[in-house]
Amino acid sequence: MRIYNEPLTAMSKEHKKTERVAAEDVKRVAELAYLELTAQEEVHMQRDLNAILDYVAQMNELDTSVVEPMAQVAEVLGGISGDLRTDIPHPSLPRDQVMAEAPETDGTFFKVPKVIER
């Protein structure tokens, strides 16, 4: 059954093309995220982030000055228990099972390259 006849635009068709993210922003964010992007990846990343953020900017059409942020749906539900479980120690996974997955280990510790650079 036809419910709606008149066309309605659900999505804004035109987004302003602005350069929100500069090349140096890509480098800075990659550093924060511990990603070692190649030069080509940086170029693509800048293009994609700008396209996505232009689209995301639609949120600014809404006045949210009196709206409380919602981090988790649990806060609008009565059903999810806010109770934390009792703090009783339980055995952890056996060390040998965990170490079996480590890229490098001496059996007791995870081994990594040197931490302090000189």
Partner: protein, 482 residues
């Protein structure tokens, strides 16, 4: 196209057959492996198989049936698990190179509950890397193909889970849904997929993408089978603080109650530009069938709908950037060789281990959480999330269920959207809303395009009202079977 009218029984039929000794679990498991052997080279739904474990479990079920023992709810049901959920003894790659070869030392709660209910676990299913994608083309192990048209995508991110059902390789599969990753592939592959209420199913053992949005849910060929599986996996788990203590009802009990006098809302924003004409026609026919079955159809408005995709991509990527910080080459997974400092080892391992879409989302998430942008993006998105949730809470004062298309189009072609992240993100336009609001939903087949591609209807209900989604879904399924 491969044969999609599968010879597999439903969960109920199998149960009856086992009790009456007319079917054996071993035989059913064997026919699934035969399908996998003949079709999965093309479809590529499975990333790992456990033939030995499956055969052993099936034999145990057959022995129990032979002895006349009471059979558990999913006795002998051949089941596949999306590879973002852990099952001890099998790999868990999350579709990523960074977890290649990783064998988790513990089993996810949802998987454990399936095992305890007698399910025969066949193996792990392909998916987009870390469940990030709408086409399954982001899997580091290669894409899954749609069994209805092998030049098309199965949807994503739970593409393997949906395709395995459509191709008759499993009776039940588990998937996960963060922004539509169960419902959209269910729609594309012509199967039933369930998005349970946030907190209904434990996330313990799920490799996290966006913790405030991630949900685990079932796929099957029929609505009733998904209801049975949800009844098994739902319920509180002390290992997941966000899992709900709300009692789990018998989802099968009222499933045939019909929709007489049920108030069903049709949100105008979901029938706007961008909706494919054939999808629209199929969903409208389904709505007509619900009206004919006695439902009261009411036009409604969910006014903030157009802000859902922007909001979703801020919140989901922000949470992902934090969750994926754990992949650093220290404790498990891929470590890049040759780095001479810890910091270089982190960076090179992550650079080499993650694929392009995962990097894009980590970058976007890190950006929106970074100093100076937090309020403009992350806090703003959380505020819009509340407005979107309030849209649903208001609507559910007027209606019992909301019906929409699951996706704006039928399955698209492989390669069609891979170079344009924004167009890929818009494949989730009708599904991200329920994800943000935490409500439950289901996608049920409601028609086919002229090219024979499946079209899904999405049914949404308020928090913890899965029973009504099943009731409406069953009505649509009964109408389709006429």
């Amino acid at each position: 196209m491969i044969k999609t009218d599968t010879a597999l029984p439903t969960v109920q039929e199998l149960r009856k057959g086992l009790a009456a000794h007319t079917i054996s679990a071993t035989e059913i498991a064997r026919s699934c492996f035969e399908r996998i052997d003949s079709e999965d080279e093309t479809i590529h739904a499975f990333l790992a198989l456990d033939r030995e474990g499956a055969v052993k479990k099936a034999a145990e079920i057959d022995a129990a049936a032979e002895n006349g023992e009471a059979l558990p709810a999913l006795a002998g049901v051949p089941t596949g698990i999306k590879d973002v959920l852990t099952q001890e003894g099998l790999p868990a790659t999350a579709g990523s190179k960074i977890l290649e070869g990783y064998r988790p030392p513990y089993t996810a709660t949802a998987v454990r509950r399936l095992m305890d209910a007698g399910a025969v676990l066949l193996g792990k299913l392909n998916c987009d890397e870390f469940a990030m994608g709408s086409s399954n083309e982001n899997s580091a192990y290669g894409p899954v193909r749609n069994p209805h048209a092998t030049d098309r995508v199965p949807g994503g991110s739970s593409g393997g889970s949906a395709a395995a059902i459509a191709a008759g390789m499993a009776m039940v599969t588990l998937g996960t849904d963060t922004g539509g990753s169960i419902r959209q592939p269910a729609s594309f592959c012509g199967v039933v997929g369930v998005l349970p209420t946030y907190g209904r199913v434990s996330r313990y053992g799920l490799i996290a993408f966006a913790s405030s949005l991630d949900r685990v849910g079932p796929f099957a060929a029929t609505v009733r089978d998904t209801a049975t599986v949800l009844g098994v996996i739902a319920g509180h788990d002390p290992m997941d603080a966000t899992s709900s203590t709300e009692p789990v009802p018998d989802y099968s009990a009222g499933i045939d109650a019909g929709v007489s006098r049920l108030r069903i809302g049709i949100p105008r924003e979901y029938f706007a530009d961008g909706l494919d004409a054939e999808v629209r026609a199929a969903v409208e026919a389904g709505i007509e069938a619900l009206r004919a079955a006695g439902a009261e159809i009411k036009p409604i408005s969910l006014p903030h709908t157009r802000y859902a995709v922007p909001t979703y991509y801020v919140i989901a990527t922000a949470e992902a950037s934090a969750n994926l910080a754990r992949f650093d080459g220290v404790r498990y997974g891929y470590r890049a060789p040759g780095a001479d400092t810890l910091s270089a080892m982190y960076r090179c391992s992550r650079e080499g281990g993650f694929g392009p879409e995962v990097k894009r989302r980590i970058m976007l998430g890190t950006y929106v959480l970074s100093a100076g942008y937090y309020d403009a993006y992350y806090k703003k998105a959380q505020q819009v999330r509340r407005l979107l949730t309030n849209d649903f809470l208001s609507a559910f004062k007027e209606v019992d269920a909301i019906v929409t298309p699951t996706a704006p189009t039928p399955a698209f072609k492989l390669g069609e959207k891979v170079d344009d992240p924004m167009s890929m993100y818009l494949a989730d336009i009708y599904t991200v809303t329920a994800s943000l609001a935490g409500i439950c939903g289901i996608s049920v087949p409601c028609g086919k395009s002229r090219d024979g591609l499946p079209i899904g209807m999405q049914i949404l209900c308020k928090h913890f009202d899965e029973a009504t989604t099943f009731r409406v879904g069953q009505t649509v399924e009964d109408w389709r079977a006429q």
